[in-house]
């Protein structure tokens, strides 16, 4: 016995070093794997912020605009829709740079300022017609190329033919900077405008409103239906084949690719029910079907966590099953259900694939004002902008993503807070 034990001990001791090395390798691999996800997250947010932060600022140019009646109302009558406000901007620029001559050069000069300048002048005159004839000092948005130059996204030292902005334009911009006629300010257009072909005019308000209307529809449908379904399945459904089928079905629906829901929406809501394409109403319907399983699963878990003793106590006092559920179980399970709903909503907010199917991917300038107006959604706006080649759109895409992630973060925080504050210990 002792001899064999001694031999065993020797064998074990001999193998220890090798086994310790293997152990260390295994552990290091695990640490590395965990780091992969975390590092990706870090790189990802860093890239996003580096690319997107500058989109929250925008370059403006100061112009002294003469509201010349001869330009705006050549025949004595001011028609705001057709008046040549762009002409005023051009005149102002020419006065600032009197040495610029020749059609080509002048055209380059005019391109320093965004087309939005004319609109702003028009709004100004529309608000106060007495401005006509006076000289107005106004800050107008610079063209996106100037904006990119100022933000350092265009390198003026590379060859002129390789950048979208000419040497002359660079020189003018520098001269504007020297005379304090150029500055960067907070980019309000990003939050107040709809989509646009001009990067400096493009904003996310249309997409935000589209997402907002969709989420309203989604919450209004998915929350009550989800809670009702969960109540039935947990409290009333007899254990039968049918309830098993519903159970399997819900779990499966939670894992069906979202694009398939888009096909459903296209075939049923648009082709069969003839609801309008691109409408937040349809988007909301599709997203509520998509989030329903999430909400049902979370709500069932919340109901399960209500201890049976509470039901028994209420039943013992003579309440009907329905009264027990609605007066006692439901209020206690509500925080869990709300948490699940918010999680579901945050998933819906980030969803884009099914929306592509139902036409919410169109280029829409107007900010939607109702549930049936054509609209797009924030993640779809990201998709659309990501496709645009201009550097200025890449910046805005990152900014839109930052806004989107900000909303998602807030929703998840809300869920966590609800869970923490309303958590009960039984």
């Amino acid at each position: 016995m002792t001899a064999s034990r001694k031999k065993s001990r020797e064998i074990v001791e001999a193998g220890l070093a090798r086994r310790r090395r293997k152990e260390a390798t295994f552990r290091a691999t695990g640490m590395l794997a965990t780091a992969v996800g975390v590092i990706f997250l870090g790189v990802f947010f860093a890239t996003l912020i580096v690319q997107g932060a500058s989109a929250f600022k925008q370059t403006f140019i100061k112009l002294d605009v003469v509201m010349s009646e001869s330009v705006l109302a050549p025949d004595g009558e001011l028609d705001l829709a057709y008046a040549d406000f762009d002409g005023l901007v051009r005149n102002a620029l020419r006065r600032d740079f009197p040495n610029v001559s020749g059609r080509g050069e002048r055209r380059e000069l005019y391109r320093l300022v965004s087309v939005a300048a004319g609109y702003e002048l028009r709004d100004l005159v529309a608000g106060d017609p007495s401005l006509l004839g006076s000289t107005v000092e106004i800050w107008v948005p610079a063209a996106s190329n100037v904006d990119m130059l100022i933000k350092g996204n265009i390198d003026p030292s590379i060859d002129e033919s390789l950048r979208p902005i000419s040497d002359a334009q660079v020189a003018w911009v520098e001269s504007l900077q020297r005379s304090d006629r150029l500055e960067t300010r907070f980019n309000t257009a990003l939050f107040t405008n709809g989509d646009s072909r001009e990067p400096e005019l493009a904003g996310i308000r249309g997409a935000l409103m589209g997402s907002f209307y969709m989420l309203i529809v989604t919450v209004a449908l998915a929350f009550p239906i989800g809670v009702a379904a969960a109540i039935y399945l947990e409290e009333f459904a007899p254990r039968s084949r049918w309830s098993d089928l519903i159970e399997v079905n819900i779990n499966n629906l939670a894992a069906v690719p979202s694009i398939v829901f888009g096909l459903l929406g296209l075939a049923v809501f648009i082709n069969w029910m003839a609801l309008p394409r691109s409408a937040p109403l349809v988007g909301g319907l599709v997203l509520s079907l998509l989030t329903l399983p999430v909400i049902i699963i979370a709500s069932r878990a919340a109901i399960q966590s209500v201890p049976p003793s509470i039901r028994e106590a209420a039943l013992g006092l003579g309440a009907s099953k329905m009264q027990v559920v609605f007066h006692h179980v439901l209020p206690l399970a509500l925080p869990g259900m709300l948490t699940g709903t918010i999680i579901g909503m945050s998933r819906a907010l980030g969803e884009s694939a099914p929306l592509l199917m139902i036409g919410m991917v169109a280029f829409i300038v107007d900010v939607p004002g109702s549930f049936t107006d054509p609209a797009t959604a924030l993640p779809v706006q990201v998709y659309l902008w990501a496709d645009s080649p201009e550097r200025a759109f890449a910046e805005r895409t990152s900014a839109a993503i930052i806004v989107l992630l900000g909303f998602l973060l807030m929703m998840n925080l809300a869920a966590v807070i609800i869970r923490k504050r309303m958590e009960r210990k039984w």
């Binding site: 074990v12 220890l16 086994r19």
Partner: protein, 306 residues
């Protein structure tokens, strides 16, 4: 029943076990029992009654304290365990006997908040010393758990597991030999020799526990720790395990935690009585059960606390 539940929770390597294991009952609010225990803490005294030393010591623990975070689970335990004796650790739930047992093969290591002070030596070697690998220690100090826990593998693979990881067998024939001997010594060979490839989880509870014992002795240990090995078994299976312990005691030092005083009386030569994390009394089995020195021991044995 209560005993079973608590020890089961001890097996969970999460922080929550800290709250149950070894919490002095005095800290638990509103308990009637707590009231009586508070009064009795004073009776504990600092020194262990009886004889903590033995003739041929193999495991020596000197002034061992165990903490789970802020919770002082074991206080100042000094005890010697002989080379071929069966020593039973008894005491009420949460008294620290399982915690003490798990110090002897460093199973407490895997609990983040656990801290052990004092010295524990195995054959004059410090087992908490930096030069000792717990892996090597556990090859020498085997352990059988409260609930039979065969791996979800075949009977053969269960027994071959230890020899395989330690590389004890150089070829298949040698491994077969080890597996057969171990099963034989655990008294299981006859029952399973025709179904070595069937899963170990398909055996009855008593057979599973004997499989776990076979699995333990396949590594060729010097000490076997048993943590209430029969608490999940029926009386017949229990009797078989007790016979087995008796046989094994010729070759191994055995430390057994039990909540059954009859079992302690049947299988052990010495008994150590734990109470609220302290070792109250150690003595030869006969003496403890016939003539306990300490009032607490007497109360426990006569069923006044438990």
């Amino acid at each position: 029943m209560t005993e079973t539940k608590i020890t089961e929770e001890e097996a969970v390597p999460e922080a929550r076990r800290v709250e149950t294991d070894g919490v002095p009952a005095a800290q638990k609010p509103n308990g009637v029992a707590a009231h009586t225990v508070v009064e009795r803490v004073a009776e504990l005294g600092e020194k262990t009654v009886g004889e903590v030393r033995c003739d041929n010591p193999f495991i020596v623990t000197e002034n061992v304290d165990v903490y789970y975070g802020d919770n002082h689970a074991i206080q100042n335990v000094t005890l010697e365990i002989g080379k071929s004796e069966v020593i039973a650790l008894i005491g009420p739930s949460g008294c620290g006997k399982s915690t003490y047992l798990r110090c002897l093969n460093r199973m407490n290591d895997s609990i983040e908040s656990a801290r052990v002070t004092g010295t524990i030596t195995l054959d004059r070697q410090d087992i908490y010393g930096s030069d000792l690998d717990p892996v090597a220690l556990r090859a020498r100090v085997g352990m059988v758990f409260q609930k039979p826990n065969p791996f979800p593998k075949s009977i053969y693979d269960n027994v071959a597991y230890g020899p395989r990881i330690h590389g004890l067998a150089s070829d298949r024939a040698e491994l077969d030999e080890i597996v057969h001997t171990s099963l034989d010594r655990a008294g299981l060979l006859k029952e399973v020799k025709d179904r070595m490839d069937e899963p170990g989880t398909g055996l009855s509870g008593g057979q599973q526990q004997r499989l776990c014992i076979a699995r333990t002795i396949a590594v060729n240990p010097e000490v076997i720790l048993m943590d209430e090995p029969c608490s999940a078994l029926d009386p017949i299976a229990t009797a078989r395990i007790e016979d087995l312990i008796d046989e094994l005691s010729r070759d191994y030092a055995i430390v057994i935690v039990t909540h059954s005083m009859q079992q302690a009386a049947r299988v052990s030569q010495r008994v150590a009585y734990f109470h609220l994390g302290r070792l109250v009394e150690v003595d030869e089995t006969n003496r403890i059960f016939t003539n306990p020195q300490h009032k607490l021991t007497e109360d426990y044995i006569t069923g006044r606390i438990g």
